[in-house]
C-alpha cells in the first residue's frame, strides 16, 4: 500500500501530487517532464519534499509536519532504473548479493521476508551470468540483473523507473513477461513508471496519470485510459484504450480467442489463457472504426455497441471520438473530421466500434491481476 502526498520545487519545475493505492502494481503514467522520476526519487528518499508525507506499507517514510525523514538506506525500497546502474567493479553475483547482505542484517528478526536467491536467479534466467562483470552483459541481461538485485534486497516496495526504455522491442517483451512473473510469484508491490500504454495495461491494475507535476487522473486502468484527460496531447498513434473482458473460448480451427465483453465479443489472434480468465486488451485509437448502423458484409469480426460520449475536434483534419461502450467502459477512436461531419456524429448517438482482429494479438492482451 502506498499513500503519497508531497510537493517539491526543483528550479522551474514543481511537483505537487497526491495519490494512494493498494493495488499490487500501480503505474505512474505520463510524458517526460510530467514528474514521474521526481515522484520515484521522493519515494526512494533521494529527494526531500518541501512539504507532505509518504507512507508505504503503513510505515511513514516522510512527514514534513512531524519532521520525519527516513534516510534512503533505511527505507527498504528497491529501485530499478532505466539504465541498470550495476556496480561495474563487482561481478553479477556480487551485485545480486549487495542488497541481500544489507537486507539480511536488517531483517534478522523477520527471516520470512527474505527472498530466495536461487528462486530469483532461476526466474530471471541469469544463472549463467553470475561470474561475469556487468560491462560484458547485453542490455536485457543487465536489466534482468538489476531487477534481481533490487528484488533480493527484500524491498517493501519495488520502484521501476521505465525499466524497458533502453531495450529493443524483442527484449522489451521478454523483460515485460519476467516482470509479470515477479509480480505474481514474489508478491512485492510495484510502482511502475512508464509512458507506454501497452506496458501499463499489461502490468498494472491501477494507474496514476501525471502531467506538469500534478495528478491528472487516477483509478483503474480501464477507466483512466478511456478518459480524455489521461492522454491529452499524446500523438494519435500513442492513444489507446483498455478493455477488460473474460476469455470465453478458443475457435481452435482458426487460432482465434473469443473474449466476452458486455458490448460484444472481442476476437484476438492467438491464445489468451484458459476460459474464464480476466484479461485486459489494449486497443489503439487508430485501429478503431466507427459505424452508425450494425455493419454487414465486412471482414471485421469485433463489433462493439455503445454511444458517443464526446467528440474532440480542432482545425486539423482529425477528430477524437470517445465511445461509451455498454458496460460503462470508454473506447477512444480516431477518425477524420470529414467522417464525423458526414456521419453527423454527435454526443449520445448510438454507434458501433469496429476493431480489426489482426491489430490485436498476444502483445495487446494481458492477464488481469487481482
Amino acid at each position: 500500500m502506498i499513500r503519497f502526498n508531497a510537493a517539491i520545487a526543483l528550479g522551474a519545475f514543481t511537483l505537487d501530487a497526491a495519490f494512494e493505492s493498494d493495488a499490487r502494481v500501480v503505474a505512474l503514467f505520463g510524458r517526460s517532464g510530467a514528474g514521474k522520476s521526481v515522484t520515484i526519487a521522493l519515494i526512494a528518499g533521494l529527494l526531500r519534499p518541501d512539504r507532505g508525507s509518504i507512507m508505504v506499507d503503513s510505515r511513514v517514510l516522510v512527514d514534513t509536519a512531524k519532521r520525519i525523514f527516513v534516510p534512503k538506506h533505511a527505507r527498504r525500497i528497491g529501485v530499478v532504473y532505466q539504465d541498470a546502474r550495476l556496480f561495474p567493479h563487482l561481478t553479477v553475483r556480487q551485485n545480486l548479493m549487495f542488497g541481500r547482505w544489507f537486507a539480511a542484517t536488517a531483517e534478522r528478526s523477520q527471516p520470512d521476508r527474505a527472498v530466495a536467491f536461487d528462486a530469483v536467479v532461476e526466474t530471471l534466467g541469469i544463472g549463467h551470468l553470475l561470474a561475469r562483470r556487468p560491462g560484458l552483459l547485453s542490455g536485457g541481461e543487465r536489466q534482468r540483473v538489476a531487477i534481481g538485485r533490487a528484488l533480493l534486497s527484500s524491498p517493501r516496495l519495488l520502484l521501476m523507473d521505465e525499466p524497458l526504455a533502453a531495450l529493443d522491442e524483442e527484449r522489451k517483451l521478454e523483460v515485460l513477461a519476467l516482470i509479470e512473473r515477479l509480480r505474481d510469484e514474489f508478491k512485492v508491490p510495484i510502482v511502475y513508471v512508464s509512458h507506454t500504454v501497452d506496458e501499463v495495461a499489461r502490468l498494472a491494475s491501477h494507474v496514476v496519470v501525471l502531467g506538469g507535476g500534478r495528478v491528472v487522473a487516477a483509478g483503474p486502468v480501464g477507466e483512466v485510459f478511456g478518459a480524455e484527460e489521461a492522454q491529452a496531447g499524446e500523438s494519435r498513434f500513442a492513444r489507446s484504450s483498455v478493455l477488460t473482458g473474460r476469455v470465453a473460448g478458443m475457435r481452435a480451427g482458426y487460432g482465434l480467442t473469443e473474449i466476452a465483453h458486455p458490448a460484444g465479443a472481442i476476437w484476438v489472434a492467438g491464445p489468451a489463457g484458459p476460459a474464464g480468465r480476466e484479461v485486459r486488451i489494449v486497443v489503439r485509437a487508430t485501429d478503431v472504426t466507427l459505424a452508425t448502423a450494425p455493419p454487414h458484409h465486412l471482414s471485421v469480426r469485433t463489433i462493439l455497441a455503445g454511444t458517443v460520449a464526446s467528440i474532440e475536434t480542432g482545425d486539423g483534419p482529425l477528430a477524437t471520438v470517445t465511445v461509451e461502450l455498454i458496460g460503462n467502459t470508454h473506447l477512444v477512436a480516431m477518425a477524420t473530421r470529414m467522417a464525423v461531419d458526414e456521419l453527423g456524429l454527435k454526443p449520445r448517438d448510438r454507434v458501433f466500434a469496429l476493431i480489426k482482429t489482426v491489430a490485436l494479438d498476444e502483445r495487446s492482451v494481458a492477464a488481469g491481476s487481482a
Binding site: A74, R85, F87, F98, F102, P134, G135, S153
Partner: protein
C-alpha cells in the same frame, strides 16, 4: 583514470644515459675511484633507508587524511570549502623553504604548538626524522588530494544512490562503491605523494636541517656530497638509487592502475 606511460620511457632513457655517462664523466673529471665504486657506503645506505622510511611514512600517514579531504572537496558542500581547498594547495605554490619555515615556527621545540605536542603527547618533530616525514607529507598532500578528488568526481553518483537504496549507509557506500571505483586515482595520488616525498628538499632542510642518520635524505645527502671534495662518486651512486626507486614506484603504479582500468573498462 588515465595514467600515461610516457614518463616511464623518459625515465628509462634518462637511466641509460646516466649510467653510460657515468664512466665518461668519471674519466673526464679524472676521478680516481678505484674498484668497488658501485658499492654504497654505510652512510649512503643510511640516507637511502632513511629516505624510504620518510617517504613511506609520509605517504601512509597522508593517505587517510587525503582520502577524507578529497571526498569532502568532491562530494560535500560546506562553508569555507574554497578556503580549505586553497590551504591544501598552498604547499604546491609556496616556495618549499617558506613551507619549511612555517612548520619550524609552528612546531619548533620552542613554538607553542611544538611544545604542547612534546610535553603532552611526546611527539617531537623538530630535527627528527618524523619532522622530515611531516614536511614531506605536507608537500605531497596537494598532489595526492588532487588525484583522488578527480577520480571521485568522475564516479557516477547514481551508483552511490543505487547502493543507498539497496540498504548501504554512507560509510558502507564509500567502502563498497566509491573507494573501489576511485582506486586508480588513489594509487596515482599515493605514488605522486611518495615521489614528492622522496625528492623533497627545501621544506625538509629548513624544518629539520640536514643531520646524517636522522634527517639526511637522499636529496640532502647528494647536495652535501656535491659540496665536499671527492664526493662526486657518492653523489652519482645516490643519483642512481634515486632513479631506481622512482622507476620502481612508477612501474608499480602503472601495473596497479592498469589492472584497475581493465576491470572498469568493461563498463560503458
Amino acid at each position: 583514470m588515465p595514467v600515461t606511460p610516457r614518463p616511464l620511457g623518459i625515465a628509462l632513457a634518462g637511466l641509460n644515459g646516466n649510467v653510460g655517462d657515468a664512466r665518461l664523466a668519471r674519466e673526464a673529471c679524472g676521478l680516481n675511484l678505484g674498484d668497488g665504486w658501485l658499492e654504497l657506503s654505510a652512510d649512503e645506505w643510511t640516507a637511502v633507508r632513511l629516505s624510504l622510511k620518510i617517504a613511506v611514512t609520509a605517504t601512509a600517514a597522508s593517505l587517510p587524511l587525503g582520502l577524507f579531504a578529497a571526498y569532502a572537496l568532491a562530494r560535500w558542500r560546506f562553508p569555507g570549502k574554497t578556503l580549505l581547498d586553497g590551504i591544501i594547495h598552498l604547499p604546491l605554490v609556496l616556495p618549499p623553504v617558506v613551507t619549511g619555515y612555517i612548520l619550524l615556527v609552528l612546531l619548533g621545540r620552542r613554538a607553542p604548538l611544538g611544545e604542547f605536542l612534546a610535553d603532552h603527547l611526546g611527539i617531537v618533530f623538530s630535527f627528527r626524522w618524523t619532522g622530515a616525514a611531516l614536511a614531506c607529507g605536507v608537500m605531497g598532500f596537494p598532489l595526492m588530494v588532487r588525484a583522488i578528488r578527480l577520480s571521485i568526481e568522475a564516479i557516477d553518483r547514481r551508483l552511490e544512490d543505487a547502493a543507498a537504496t539497496l540498504g548501504a549507509n554512507g560509510p558502507w557506500t564509500f567502502t563498497l562503491v566509491t573507494l573501489p571505483l576511485a582506486l586508480p586515482g588513489v594509487v596515482v595520488g599515493a605514488i605522486l605523494c611518495f615521489a614528492k616525498a622522496l625528492g623533497e628538499f627545501g621544506a625538509t632542510i629548513t624544518f629539520v636541517s640536514n643531520i646524517p642518520g636522522e634527517t639526511q635524505t637522499i636529496s640532502a645527502a647528494i647536495f652535501t656530497y656535491t659540496q665536499i671534495p671527492g664526493g662526486d662518486a657518492s653523489a652519482w651512486r645516490l643519483t642512481a638509487v634515486a632513479i631506481a626507486i622512482a622507476l620502481a614506484a612508477l612501474v608499480v603504479s602503472e601495473i596497479v592502475a592498469r589492472k584497475a582500468n581493465r576491470r572498469l573498462a568493461q563498463f560503458e
